[in-house]
């Protein structure tokens, strides 16, 4: 009798959470998430001191606009896809490379539970670090009187962040179950293809995840669908595939 999927997933989730909390790359993740906070502090202090006036195309812009710039440039264009690539690809690929996946494969659990459990641990870890970081940046950057009217779009923005992390993570988790060395391919996709597609005409831009990092209904639906599809494919792949561990 196999341990039920949910119970197995929970066990793998706990195991992976412990691994992720200890890994040096999680420290790196925290540093990457802390950098925008430091940036925000520096910017706010500079603006408060009145020593700089922010202008874009000759127009003076407020701190909300700076916040939106930071969100786009730092979070959506770098942190979210980079985390998705680095963490998503490593969830299964690292276990295969380290040859520890044997211990999971010889347990009476569906192999799909390994994928699900690791994915959920990833989502919890990265969301717990990145979303609060963005929230702190908002609090630092946006003056208190302006917070209330902006709060709705801010919350939607956080939702997009979380969904983006989930979608990228799922897609690259699937890549990690398929390929032995998925990292460079993932980097080419994110920093090559997605950047290129953004400037190409027509519908080409829609063939990226980055295009859907927006707060409208269709984008959210596409991200959710991509996440679910990628997870399903990852579970299918790991059930059917042989993993040769010889170095």
């Amino acid at each position: 009798m196999t341990t039920p999927l949910l119970a197995s997933t929970r066990r793998v989730f706990e195991l992976t959470l412990g691994q992720m909390l200890w890994a040096r790359r999680t420290t790196l993740l925290a540093l990457a998430a802390a950098a925008p906070v430091l940036l925000a502090l520096v910017t706010r202090l500079t603006l408060s001191a009145g020593s700089a006036v922010v202008q874009i195309n000759g127009r003076q812009i407020g701190s909300e606009a700076v916040f939106n710039t930071a969100m786009t440039l730092l979070y959506l264009r770098f942190i979210v896809p980079a985390i998705g690539v680095f963490y998503g690809t490593s969830l299964i690929a690292d276990e295969v490379e380290d040859r520890t996946i044997t211990y999971l494969f010889v347990r009476p659990i569906p192999r799909g539970a390994i994928v699900l459990g690791k994915y959920l641990a990833y989502v919890l870890c990265v969301t717990a670090v990145v979303v609060p970081s963005a929230a702190v940046v908002f609090v630092v950057m946006v003056p208190f009187p302006d917070m209330a009217p902006l709060f709705g779009s801010f919350v939607r923005g956080l939702g997009v962040l979380a969904l983006g992390l989930a979608a990228y993570g799922a897609v690259f988790l699937w890549a990690g179950t398929l390929f032995r060395r998925p990292l460079v391919g993932g980097l080419v996709f994110v920093f090559g293809w997605e950047q290129l597609a953004a400037v190409l005409p027509g519908y080409v831009g829609r063939l990226t995840i980055a295009h859907y990092l927006q707060a409208d209904t269709i984008s959210v639906a596409v991200l959710l669908a991509a996440t679910v599809a990628a997870l399903w494919l990852a579970m299918r792949t790991i059930e059917r595939r042989e993993y040769l561990l010889e170095r």
């Binding site: 700089a52 930071a70 980079a82 680095f86 990292l183 460079v184 980097l187 920093f191």
Partner: protein
């Protein structure tokens, strides 16, 4: 009839000159990489832009009505800037595991127990990466220049742009030196090539994004020094005759400081023994 000794015989041939022992490591690294089809595919992809530019140069040089395609200094400047993306990918693919894999396999002890020094080891590893990076920066850029001369049938373009050859060469060398030293230093910090790759992405792309946000927020151009890549871009601009936002001397000193830091890291990390507290 003399009976020949079939036992072990000491090597009595020529030994490679002391100063060239790093070449052995470099050669082994290059051959190992070239055996990987995925890497070859990546290198081929890195030459796609060259093909596009070559066609552009051909059209601009040979068809009078298409003279707007004619090459200028900006063509080569733009080409080298665009190749930065492939420099990034190739650096990660070929460079992340250069020292990290050896640390993981405890191979540093094996290397350094041979009659080579740490400097031979580092030079060999750096040369492995540098060779591939030169192959996607300086070589295609110079080839484009050569094609321009070939298609136009005269040296007029080169002689009327005397700074082009030194600009291409220095830009490429700085790009290659920065990428390979940074990647090697980061690779020496870990036993995991994936972690080294993450660190490199942080230093390269994230630093650039942070710098752009700070620049937007404060209007101060000096933040560019936070990003080694953007600092290099400022120097490249100056080399190609474009006024950079910060003084070139300052940018150059900052770049040298980054490379010096990389050398310091490598000096500390590349050792035959690991001190375990």
């Amino acid at each position: 009839m003399p009976i020949h000794d079939q036992g072990y015989r000491r090597y009595a041939g020529e030994r490679i000159v002391r100063a060239r022992r790093w070449l052995v490591i470099a050669r082994a690294g290059v051959i190992e990489r070239l055996r990987e089809r995925r890497f070859l595919a990546l290198m081929l992809m890195a030459w796609l832009l060259f093909v596009v530019r070559a066609v552009q140069i051909y059209i601009g040089t040979t068809i009078v009505r298409a003279s707007f395609f004619a090459p200028s200094e900006d063509t080569f400047h733009g080409f080298l800037n665009q190749q930065r993306l492939f420099v990034f990918f190739i650096t990660i693919y070929a460079g992340a595991g250069l020292i990290a894999n050896d640390r993981q396999a405890n191979a540093l002890q094996l290397y350094l127990s041979k009659p080579i020094t740490r400097h031979d080891y580092i030079a060999g590893k750096m040369a492995t990466l540098a060779l591939f990076l030169i192959a996607v920066t300086w070589v295609p850029a110079m080839l484009l220049l050569a094609l321009q001369v070939l298609f136009s049938g005269s040296l007029e373009f080169v002689s009327s742009h005397p700074r082009l050859v030194p600009a291409i060469t220095i830009t490429s060398l700085l790009q290659v030196a920065l990428a390979s030293m940074t990647m090697l230093a980061l690779s020496s910090l870990s036993r995991s090539r994936r972690f080294a790759a993450m660190l490199y992405a942080l230093v390269t792309i994230f630093a650039g994004a942070v710098e752009r946000v700070l620049q937007t927020a404060t209007g101060a151009a000096g933040w560019v020094l936070l990003s080694p890549q953007n600092t290099l871009a400022a120097i490249t601009d100056a080399l190609f005759g474009i006024e950079p936002d910060i003084p070139v001397t300052v940018a150059f000193i900052a770049l040298v400081a980054v490379m010096a830091a990389c050398v310091a890291v490598l000096e500390r990390r590349v050792r035959a023994v690991d001190v375990v507290a």
